[in-house]
Amino acid sequence: MIRFTSVSKSYPRTGTAVDNVSLHIGRGEFVFFTGPSGAGKTTLLKMVYMEERPSSGEVRVSGTSSVTAGDREVAKLRRKLGIVFQDFRLLDNRTAEQNVAFALEVTDTAPAMIGPKVARALTQVGLAGKGTAFPRELSGGEQQRVAIARALVNDPFVLIADEPTGNLDDRATRGIFQLLREINASGTAVMMATHNLELIRRQEFRTIEMTRGAVVFDSAEQKPARES
């Protein structure tokens, strides 16, 4: 479903961010990405939704190749992905409902479909009663739930979460993580970058550890993926 083949990414000024990574993530998997700051987790996730393209190698996501895809194809691909960040990225002047609806409005969804889809997504993240609240009227955890609802509203096959709990306290973190597990249980794959080792240690999920751009551990292989 998502396959990295000998992928490297280097930036003009900072050099190598991702170094010769090959990996495969299957349908419905839950995968943690860990590693020290600057290891390349964010860069790797960006290559999944093709915000960045590899300097060499290929990323294939559900039939879309990083080598050949044009802007249009990337846009179409992102409609099948859900993406959330540490900083939520909600629009302050729109209510929770409107923030979720935004993802549908700008992707030519039939207007009649928007209302029901938004309601369903907000219910799924446990915010059914707060649809008319503005982001500033919501807690951090609730704001992240709105962002997740927006990511889910197009029924993505994978949810990409880059430190989704980075700005949250322990309680909210557990809540969000519980939500991600439920989402995964319903069949959506989850790729989550996190620094929260505690969270990872208590889970049975696949864990990929990166250091200086390279994958140094992949629990799916039960051994160090590569010495360097």
């Binding site: 179409k76 992102r78 993406i83 629009l91 935004f102």
Partner: protein, 281 residues
Amino acid sequence: MRSIRDALIAFRRTPLLSVLSITTIAFSLFAFGLFGLVALNIREALDRLEDRVEIRAFVADGTAPESMAQAAGDIAAYPEVLATKSVSQDEALVRAKKELGDFRDVFEGAVLPASIDVRLKPGFRDPASVKRVSARIRAFSFVDDIRYGEEWIEKLYRLRNVAGIAGIVLGLSFAGVSMIIIGTTIRMAVLSRAKEISIMRLVGATDGYIRRPFLIEGLAKGILGGLLALLLTYVTRTIIDRYLIQTIFFDARVTLLGLLFGAMLGLLGSAFSVGRHLRRV
């Protein structure tokens, strides 16, 4: 529909810049229009004037009427010449009195030279042909002097060219300024919506979709600018018509072309800068 609504919102967000964009586009087209009208009317005048272009060869005193008639016949056979006419001293006096109307007393007792008046065929009325024919006529020994509208015509030709060039230079300058202002407007709009745009990208909006409202906004400004210019040009022309001289206006085709040019200015200005600025969001 969304695009039109967004364009209206954008308009309200930066009303000053929007008005400025429209005004500069209008000025650009107004400059084209005004100087275009000057050029058009000069050409129209030239067409009418050229109809009357005559070469008048003044004949020395005491030339025999037979020689004059002979020469007039010869000249009429030149390929460029439409017709010739011998004018005796008496006839010249009568004509001068008629042309000057109230001032005819001035000519009391005067003697005007006889002449051969030459009219050229259409297509041979440009300054170069006039000069060429004049040179041949000058070869007749009894021809004293030759007059033709040379200076007049050349001046008008030059004036027309100057008006044309001035219109183009001024029009292009304003077009350039309008491009810069449109670019600034769009930069501000893109920056103020940077977060919105980045989220649109994230959830899979196409580039075309993100651009559309900016392009429609530009197109609308271009059309409004064009209409404003048309109004300005028309009013100016009407005033000149009423208080100065009769003029003609552009035909429907040229008018439409002007509006189209305004629309293109707005659209291209937007397309150019939206592409540049979106890349940085």
